[in-house]
Symmetry: C2
Subunit: 229 residues, 2 copies
């Protein structure tokens, strides 16, 4: 098994040949003014690792990313800043896709008002009204025809409960859950797979490129199930 | 003149030998919860370039940074996240310093309340109360004995007016001003020097390492003026 995987890594086993896969990665940045923004700790490493592995496995890969980790050869990379830009770039490609793997940590909120010039500080406090960003994954679930949808949940509390809720409410095929402290900024992660059919798979801690391989193995399985229907 | 500078670059002209200089760099990040934060577009490139140039010129350099660009050989590097951490690290070293060059873009505000767990999103808007961070440069100006203080102003509007106000209110010896759009994320910048004695020096657009050399030339001049008093 290990020998097979190592061989696959170098030669490419082309298990995803012909599949059109979109991967999202990194954080989004939500501007408050031309200098200040609201964001999150996502590094983009997981999404980049998935995009690279999918490309090696023969897929036609588009990476929509809020992180800038250096473009991957053979992967169409689209750089975005805000959640709304990411929403637009993902949704308009959705019809032509076989799968979306949403590894990005999209900001749930953005400042309602974006100042065109730098906000001058004053002595007192400042209230910032944050409004909800569009929910990309929810919209993908709603518009879903045949696409396989893979989401992530990084939580600090009640991980399994939140994961199962997200799996169902977003109509995902696979939800990859981890504790936020195990992942953000790290080169490794410790994740659990929750499948729509109720199966649960607990993975040990491993490097993100190896997790990417596990995710694509799971995705191949989901494609096989889907094709045999 | 050019030959001298090129030679100096490689051999080190040691004009700052024995001087203890603290440089701050990068943005600060102000947590809202374990995942989300407020920050700004500063890359840290200017501060790192100044620290490297000061080290080459023979100074004893400490870099306090919110950016992670790779430590510089011979420079004591202190990594911080928030404005309050940067404040603590700078202020407690101040007594022993000959100069502070404050190239960091310190967040003026932080969320008043930091949640220990990830804030669950809800359907409606979210109000975030931001409170003022301590003003590092103002405190340095207040506690100033003999130290030379160099600050930066990145503005979107009324650049000269804001620069002159900051120069005076923070008791700076030199204020380096630029338009925000000329600097953030760029490898070059277009700056103007405003000195406490009223002198103004407009520099053409140049790479940040070259601006760093110009700043240290100006600093050497300020040390000479100070020593001859």
């Amino acid at each position: 098994e290990i020998v097979r995987k190592v061989t696959d890594f170098f030669t490419g086993d082309q298990t995803l040949k012909g599949k059109r896969i979109l991967v999202t990665a990194g954080p989004t940045k939500e501007a408050l003014d031309p200098i200040r923004f609201f964001s999150n700790q996502s590094s983009g490493k997981m999404g980049y690792a998935i995009a690279a592995a999918a490309q090696r496995a023969g897929a036609d890969v588009t990476l929509v990313t809020g992180a800038q980790l250096g473009d991957i050869k053979g992967v169409t990379t689209v750089h975005v800043t805000s959640a709304r830009e990411m929403y637009d770039e993902v949704i308009r490609r959705y019809n032509g896709l076989d799968a979306v793997i949403k590894a990005a940590a999209v900001a749930d909120y953005r400042p309602e008002n974006v100042s065109a010039s730098k906000i001058k500080k004053s002595d007192g406090p400042m209230m910032v009204k944050m409004v909800r960003n569009p929910d990309i994954l929810k919209e993908l679930g709603r518009q879903k025809v045949k696409q396989v949808l893979v989401g992530f949940a990084a939580e600090t509390d009640d991980l399994e409960e939140n994961a199962l809720k997200k799996l169902e409410s977003k109509h995902l095929d696979l939800l990859i859950a981890n504790h936020a402290s195990d992942s953000f900024g790290n080169d490794t992660n410790k994740v659990t797979f929750y499948f729509a059919n109720g199966r649960k798979q607990v993975l040990e801690r491993m490097p993100k490129p190896q997790i990417a391989e596990e995710i694509l193995d799971a995705l191949s399985g989901l494609f096989e199930m889907s094709d045999s229907k």
